[in-house]
């Protein structure tokens, strides 16, 4: 593409405002959809694994050490390497990349769900138990509503990481938003390179904003009416759990 100036910001603006970049199978909207497709599929699988596991460990307290160390090891796995390794070992398709991204998404979701369930005040749980609720009722009617804010925080952190990291899939299989970075580097088209980077950043911020909104409405009405006093031990424990659940992006 020809630009009117050698200034990189001008080139970026021209690339972003060129209508031909906004249509067709190689245009920005299609690439955004591909990107979100990776994110959606990855999060679906990751949640299917991590949510039940986190609920089980959070509710029973069994296997705590095991999942904490498992989360540590998974966090240390370089996703870039996993995406490329799976692409070579299996095939350069959608699924191997998705599985590599699942390894990235499981730790934040798992630690968020686990922290959410186990951060619920134990006296509340004991009260429910003494009222005769079954363990399943305690989990779904007491622990999940009370811990939902932190649980969704974990999912939010996972989505943020996957949105960011799905970019590298483009280097193994040419789709998703990373394609603009690959092409921009290969054909030395700086407008495409920086424009693509802007689209990725905007998408990440938009998705995270949406998740922040969902998280805000996930507080059960009963809890919203009487917010715990600021700085109470329960609140600071909750913040710590959220912080640990949200560690790291890519």
């Amino acid at each position: 593409m020809d630009y009117s100036s050698s200034n990189l910001f001008v080139q970026m603006g021209e690339w972003l405002s060129d209508p031909t970049n906004w249509s067709g199978a190689r245009g920005i909207p299609m690439r955004v959809l591909e990107h979100l497709g990776y994110v959606g599929l990855t999060m679906l699988i990751a949640c299917a694994i991590a949510v039940p596991l986190g609920m089980y460990v959070g509710h029973t307290g069994r296997g705590r050490v095991l999942i904490v160390s498992g989360i540590g090891i998974l966090r240390a796995l370089p996703t870039l390497g996993m995406v490329f390794l799976f692409a070579l070992l299996f095939y350069r398709g959608v699924l191997p990349s998705v599985w590599a991204l699942v390894l990235l998404a499981v730790p934040p979701v798992l630690s968020g769900v686990y922290a959410g369930i186990s951060s619920v005040n134990r006296t509340v749980v004991d009260a429910a138990r003494s009222m005769g609720l079954t363990e399943a009722q305690i989990l779904f009617r007491v622990e999940v509503p009370n811990g939902l804010h932190v649980m969704i925080g974990g999912v939010r952190a996972g989505i943020l990481q996957v949105v960011a990291t799905a970019t590298v899939v483009a280097y193994a299989k040419a789709d998703g938003l990373g394609v603009f970075l690959v092409e921009g580097t290969q054909i030395n088209d700086n407008g495409r390179l920086f424009g693509g980077a802007v689209v990725i950043a905007v998408l990440a911020i938009a998705v995270d904003g949406l998740m922040a909104l969902i998280q805000k409405f996930a507080i059960s009405p009963g809890l919203r009416a009487t917010p715990p006093p600021a700085g109470s031990s329960e609140e600071s424990g909750r913040q710590e759990a959220v912080a640990s659940a949200q560690g790291g992006t890519t």
Binding site: L8, F9, G72, I73, R75, A76, L77, P78, T79, L80, G81, M82, F84, L85, A87, L88, L89, L160, V163, A164, T165, T167, V168, Y171, A172, G178, L181, T185, L193, F194, A197, V198, I200, A201, A204, I205, D208, G231, S232, S233, S236, G237, Q239, E240, A243, S244, G247, G248, T249, T250
Partner: protein, 235 residues
């Protein structure tokens, strides 16, 4: 299992390259942690003293935290005027993430210190600066190190992304391995990255023990529990 043999054979044959890439990788992972602590601690103290400034800083840092690293690596040369191949871009990007993560937890940690301890220090004639450096900061160390451990693990994994735009690190083994269709090379890179993360994490645990001698008799896990207890008492 041929490929395991391939992985084992790769290491001695490429020792010099591996040493160089590991060195680059370490520099790009550790410098952001050091800079992150140096920047985040004063900012956290400012955020505590001035609530509106604190709110602005926390919002700005969490917004920056949202920007994907690859986009950040591409943009920073434009802002900083560095070469796109420079390690400076990766160090600056990861420092930004480290500050964003550490600032929040440091504010919480400083807020949770027992007010009686502070007042005792004031009564003993400590100046505000001396009190901050010798009382507040040491008591915040367990929380700080917990944050640093998360950062160090994610940094080590993220540094390899820089290889996509040509910054040298162990990520080079991934990009090279993909173009040369050489999975053993990628596996070596993954194992080396995992080992680096493990070693750095152990060093941080050790550092926490050295910096918090009052908990030396107990394990670091009980130290954190004690820190939480102290926080409960304060509240």
């Amino acid at each position: 299992m041929d490929w395991i043999q391939g992985v084992i054979d790769y290491v001695p044959a490429n020792a010099a390259l591996l040493r160089e890439l590991t060195g680059n990788h370490l520099v790009q992972s550790i410098l952001p942690i050091v800079f992150g602590v140096i920047i985040a601690v004063p900012l956290a103290q400012i955020a505590r003293l001035n609530r509106s400034a604190g709110a602005v800083m926390l919002t700005a840092s969490s917004l920056l935290y949202t920007i994907p690293s690859l986009a950040m690596f591409v943009f920073l040369p434009l802002v900083l005027g560095t070469s796109i191949l420079s390690m400076v871009n990766v160090v600056v990007a990861l420092t930004i993430y480290a500050v964003a993560l550490l600032m929040r937890s440091t504010v919480d940690a400083l807020n949770s210190i027992d007010d009686g301890v502070r007042q005792a220090a004031v009564a003993m004639g400590y100046t505000p600066l001396r009190r901050f450096l010798t009382v507040d900061l040491p008591l915040a160390v367990p929380v700080l190190i917990a944050g640093i451990r998360v950062i160090s693990v994610t940094n080590i994994s993220m540094v390899s992304v820089g290889a996509l735009i040509g910054v040298p690190s162990l990520g080079r083994l991934f990009t090279d391995g993909l173009t040369r269709n050489y999975p053993e090379q990628i596996a070596v890179g993954i194992i080396a990255t995992l080992l680096l993360a493990l070693v750095l994490d152990l060093l941080l645990v050790l550092l926490e023990r050295v910096l918090t001698p009052w908990t030396r008799a107990t394990s670091s896990r009980t130290a954190r529990a004690a820190a939480l207890d102290a926080r409960t008492v304060a509240a």
